[in-house]
Symmetry: C2
Subunit: 208 residues, 2 copies
DNA sequence: ATTTTTCTACCTGAAAAAGGGGATTTTGCA
DNA sequence: TGCAAAATCCCCTTTTTCAGGTAGAAAAAT
């Protein structure tokens, strides 16, 4: 029997999962907690194999908690659990090391499949969550078209180079760099470099 | 038979996949390309169901190409293919809408499993890739510990607010904001705001 | 060939940030 | 209570960026 620990701030969710798994031949509940910190403490004296982690906890986000769980209890596999169908939650949870993601409308069968897959070292994604991930991303707002030179200079700005440094690197005048910088500010509709860098990363115009 | 299009800059990889799938009862190769742009063009006049996309192409990254494929051909499921075992490639590929990720050492069976799962709308992750994702993240470099106030001010800086604006928002002196800003620069080991914002996003100290 | 876009360069001055210090008060914790 | 850390505030100077333009040459598109 795979030992499962539940972390959710809603007691009725905890009870619901317990009820679903009561007659499971696959998994048994070894404990539960309503906050991330309580869970971290409880898991120190408990042999859990799987943690079902709600994305929204009162003290920590599920994403943060997942990272902490993986670090402190590397043997435990984490499954994210949420009502949220947001692709960014899913990808961040996976990025944090989760072995899967379930929506809270999961059937007992899906729960068991997820727990079993995670326990085997597989990545489990419910059909519904997979559909969210694999559908085309929503149309991003029309992004400004940057010239090649603007892109080049944007990268260098984001590395922290001053106009003078960039000018020396590209064999142009610092005044020219300044002109490009102003064009970038105008195209992004922002008023300074901080916002420019953030915009560029947010809209994947540069990588980090 | 599931129609599969291969995109890889190495002809020997394309041939290898073709060879593996020659006697497949599941999939058939309907075409191939060595660059992203060639693939996008070819797929306009081709009924492919699955695209196997190499992460490193000469013209586009596999991640970019995945996004473009999902946008222009929403019906096509994308599977990432790489020698790279880097978690960030995997998560970014999934974030771009891929239905799975395979390493180039995959067996015919794994290839077929991936293609079938993707075709069914599931997310496929090879055992090896899943292991990379679900193992505890490598120890990040020791990140600077920020005080609560520093975090607060970092967020506002990254939104593009000036010291004066932040001071008014927090009911403190602009000089205080400046002090925190200097502390942040020192803690991050960077010399200006552009690099500060980038560092903060890169190391997930702020979100965007 | 013409038009449009991009790149380059410049001007001036104000605003903002960065550098390099310093100090006092407040807060949290043992 | 005492101590360390955090928060707050200050000084002065220099550097850098931003605002708000202008304009010509080169490259690209038509």
């Amino acid at each position: 029997m795979i030992r499962v620990f539940i972390i959710d701030d809603h007691p009725m969710v905890i009870e619901g999962i317990k009820s679903l798994l009561t007659q499971s031949s696959v998994a048994e509940i070894c404990g539960s907690a309503q906050t991330g910190s309580t869970a971290l403490e409880a898991l120190k004296s408990m042999e859990a194999e799987i943690a079902l982690v709600d994305i929204n906890l009162p003290d920590l986000s599920g994403i943060e908690l997942c990272g902490m769980l993986k670090k402190q209890f590397p043997k435990i596999k984490v499954l994210g659990l949420s009502t949220f169908k947001e692709r960014s939650y899913i990808t961040r949870m996976i990025g944090a090391g989760a072995s899967g993601y379930l929506l809270k409308n999961a059937t007992r069968e899906e729960l068991e499949d997820a727990i079993t897959a995670a326990w085997r070292g597989q990545l489990y994604m419910s059909l519904e969550a997979a559909a969210i991930l694999t559908k085309p991303a929503p149309d991003t707002p029309d992004l400004p078209l940057l010239t090649a030179r603007e892109k080049e200079i944007l990268l260098l700005i984001a590395e922290g180079m001053t106009n003078q440094e960039i000018a020396e690197k590209l064999f142009i005048s610092p005044l020219t760099v300044d002109s490009h910088r102003k064009n970038l500010l105008a195209k992004f509709g922002v008023k300074n470099t901080a916002a420019m860098v953030r915009f560029a990363i947010e809209f994947k115009l540069i990588e980090y």
